[in-house]
């Protein structure tokens, strides 16, 4: 496959590994964080950790939109699914994530009121075809996904579809990166920055990290050669004592991002404080539907009672999302918390750190 096979080439990968080893030789421990959950999955899927020298440590960050969505939000989605006349539509990842007492998957078995969609436009079409139902779309995701949800709201308005709603929990990556370095819980020497978020917001969005905190950033693609090249560039910056934003994913990501997508976001959403599971409220890190489009805001338009959320006992997803702890340090990992009986979201999400450890063999 074009643009994919070349980036999975064994010889190129092995040569990059050798360059990383040479660059890291004799250095102190270098701690790099991959922010995006898809990078975590790629690192595990290709066995990259095992190829790196001992003095390079990779931490997984909070870039898993499913994992960082608070339990209360999932409880609300489930509550909607239990209401008569409501159809909840969702991307697949959300289906198995545990709320305080249940999950959307279990509610499907009970109520048959949850549908998995590949695109938010599919949810909009369901609303168009079923005017007798209120169709609620579970709006989770970062800057990669939010523009398509914005587009669906604009399309709904244009077509006069009045039974389409979004339960909005979109979040933004740069503010949580700032929160991580401000918290000083860990010393991060470099960030592997998300690839697809960056196609929207541009590589310039990370300049503040390099400039204000002196931490190198490299925007990376998702194939193993991309990730290895990004690691090489970061280690090289650390050895040279510089802090720059470099763009490894040059053929996809531009400095200024995607103006059309950014305009969609600006039109439909406004920035707000947002709660990140396990991290707490991060200022200016979420998106809220603007007043102008409040007719499509599920929380504003559909009343539902939700019991107070309960965080599962013993779950350390929060610390795992911040990179402070690894799944192997969780007492529930592989015992009480497994993919079939998940306690926290990190075990269920297709980008969850615990899911990666479990599926591909951690450590």
């Amino acid at each position: 496959m074009k643009y994919i096979d070349e980036f999975r080439d064994r010889e190129i990968g092995q040569r990059l590994v050798q360059r990383i080893c040479r660059e890291a030789d004799g250095a102190r421990e270098v701690v790099l964080m991959e922010v995006c959950g898809t990078h975590t999955m790629s690192i595990f899927r290709y066995g990259i950790r095992g190829l790196l020298p001992q003095n390079i440590r990779l931490l997984s960050g909070p870039g898993c939109p499913v994992c960082v969505t608070p339990g209360a939000y999932i409880d609300k989605a489930i509550a909607y699914a239990c209401l008569p006349g409501v159809l909840v539509t969702t991307f697949g990842d959300m289906l198995r994530v545990p709320g305080s007492r249940s999950s959307l998957e279990r509610e499907t078995a009970e109520h048959n009121s949850v549908r998995v969609v590949y695109s938010t436009m599919d949810a909009l079409e369901m609303a168009a075809c079923h005017p007798e139902l209120k169709v609620v779309f579970v709006g989770v995701g970062f800057e990669t996904t939010a523009p398509t949800i914005a587009a669906s709201i604009l399309e709904a308005k244009k077509r006069g579809i009045e039974n389409y709603f979004v339960l909005c929990a979109h979040k933004l990556i740069p503010p949580v990166m700032r929160a991580l370095v401000d918290s000083q819980d860990l010393a991060i020497d470099g960030f592997i920055c998300p690839g697809h978020v960056s196609t929207i917001i541009g590589s310039d969005a990370y300049q503040f990290i390099a400039r204000d905190y002196g931490i190198p950033c490299v925007v990376a693609g998702f194939e193993p050669v991309d990730v290895l090249e990004a690691i090489y560039l970061l280690v090289s910056q650390v050895r040279r004592g510089v802090a720059l934003v470099e763009n490894q994913y040059r053929w996809v990501v531009r400095q200024g991002g995607n103006p059309k997508a950014l305009a969609l976001l600006e039109e439909v959403f406004e920035v707000a404080d947002s709660e990140w599971r396990g991290i707490g409220v991060v200022p200016g890190s979420g998106l809220r539907i603007r007043e102008k489009y409040r007719d499509f805001d599920a929380e504003a338009q559909i009343e539902v009672e939700v019991e107070p959320a309960q965080e599962p006992k013993g779950c350390i997803c929060g610390e795992i999302l911040k990179g402070v702890k690894a799944p192997l340090e969780c007492g529930l990992f592989r015992s009480l918390c497994t993919p079939t009986t998940p306690v926290g979201p990190c075990m269920v999400s297709s980008e969850g750190t615990c899911a990666a450890f479990y599926k591909y063999g951690g450590g």
Binding site: M1, I4, R8, D9, R10, G13, Q14, T38, F44, R45, Y46, G47, I48, R49, G50, L51, P65, V66, F91, G92, D93, M94, L95, R96, E105, R106, T108, A109, E110, V116, V117, Y118, V140, G141, F142, T144, T145, H196, P224, V225, L228, P339, T340, S350, E351, Y358, K359, Y360, G361
Partner: protein
């Protein structure tokens, strides 16, 4: 599972939950030594004659998909379950549960397909049943087939024969069936040419068994995909399996669709492929006879049985790293980003 819990779709996906349900409920309640191996077919012995007996239900949606239909699937699925335990398939039963309102033309088309498939596979439908249920109580048509076959003298396929050093042989490309059905069902509108690989394996397997008496075990990787089947082989065993990503044949179109949707071909259903565990000295000869058969042109040695880690399947990745290959958990779900 506790009494108040419910059966989820994931319990039928062929992955972990399916296995848990089978072991914790069905095996526990029905337990007997014939059932215990949980093989693709039960091996029965009476008066010196060895028979294989299997059953399967088919609920595929849509009924017709590129490369096949529910009728064809129902015949070949059962024929293949008999073939992989070393039996020559002979007789099938065919039970239909029909939704009120299904048009006769559709039913006739499927029955024609069943007959044609039975002829291709060299089996006869010798008994059956028909039920019609009210509209909405079944999704158009469900089919169950059971099959009986004869196991020849000297053919003994069992997990217990597997030894460290044995090679893993795969008969061809993976993921074709699942992607063909998914494309049709979801109406993706891809201009893809992926057809289901739905096919009877008895001819291919017969040649393989003639080529070598040191084929230890076989399985056809259906629901849950190649990864789940390999995990079933190593479950509880004192060996593991190491496979090479670069050696596993996957069609470009299947790879592309999987990339687009975030699916992993290792976990996608196949309906015309066989995985065989073969003595290392015979692996090449087995591959050669497979290459000469229309269903085995892309047969390949994809890995081997290893001493460690026990009970696990590992993959050497495209760039030379290694990682675990786990069993499928639920259905693969389309992702957010």
């Amino acid at each position: 599972m506790k009494a108040k819990e419910q059966i989820l779709l994931a319990h039928g996906s062929g992955g972990k939950l399916t296995h848990e349900l089978i072991e914790n409920l069905f095996l526990r309640k029905f337990f007997n030594p014939i059932l215990a191996p949980l093989a693709d077919a039960a091996l029965l012995e009476a008066k010196g004659v060895r028979l294989a007996f299997t059953t399967d239900s088919y609920v595929v949606k849509p009924l017709f998909f590129p490369g096949g239909d529910i009728g064809r699937l129902a015949v070949f699925g059962t024929v293949n379950d008999l073939s992989v335990v070393g039996a020559q398939p002979l007789f099938l039963s065919c039970s239909l549960i029909i939704e009120q309102g299904l048009d006769y033309a559709t039913l006739e088309r499927i029955v024609d397909s069943i007959q044609k498939a039975a002829q291709e596979a060299g089996v006869n439908v010798v008994t059956g049943d028909t039920k019609v249920v009210e509209r909405g109580n079944v999704d158009r048509l469900y089919v169950n087939t059971s099959g009986v076959g004869l196991v020849a003298d000297g053919v003994y396929l069992s997990v217990e024969r597997i030894e460290v050093g044995d090679k893993i042989v795969l008969s061809g490309t993976i993921g074709d069936h699942g992607i063909a059905v998914l494309s049709e069902r979801e109406g993706f509108g891809f201009h893809s040419e992926i057809a289901s690989d739905c096919a009877p394996l008895n001819g291919l397997i017969s040649r393989m068994l003639q080529a070598s008496r040191r084929i230890k075990f076989m399985r056809d990787p259906t629901r849950g995909g190649l990864a789940t089947t390999l995990n079933e082989i190593v479950a509880g065993a004192d060996f593991g399996i190491l496979i090479e990503e670069e050696r596993i044949p996957v069609r470009e179109e299947v790879k592309s669709i999987c990339e687009l949707l975030g699916l992993d071909p290792f976990y996608i259903a196949n309906e015309g492929k066989v995985v065989a565990v073969v003595h290392p000295e015979d692996a090449e000869a087995v591959c050669q006879v497979m290459w000469g058969h229309e269903l085995g042109h892309q047969a390949a040695v994809i890995g081997e049985v290893v001493a460690e880690p026990r009970g696990k399947v590992f993959l050497r990745t495209a760039i030379g790293g290694t990682r675990l290959v786990d069993m499928l958990v639920g259905d693969q779900l389309p992702r957010i980003c």
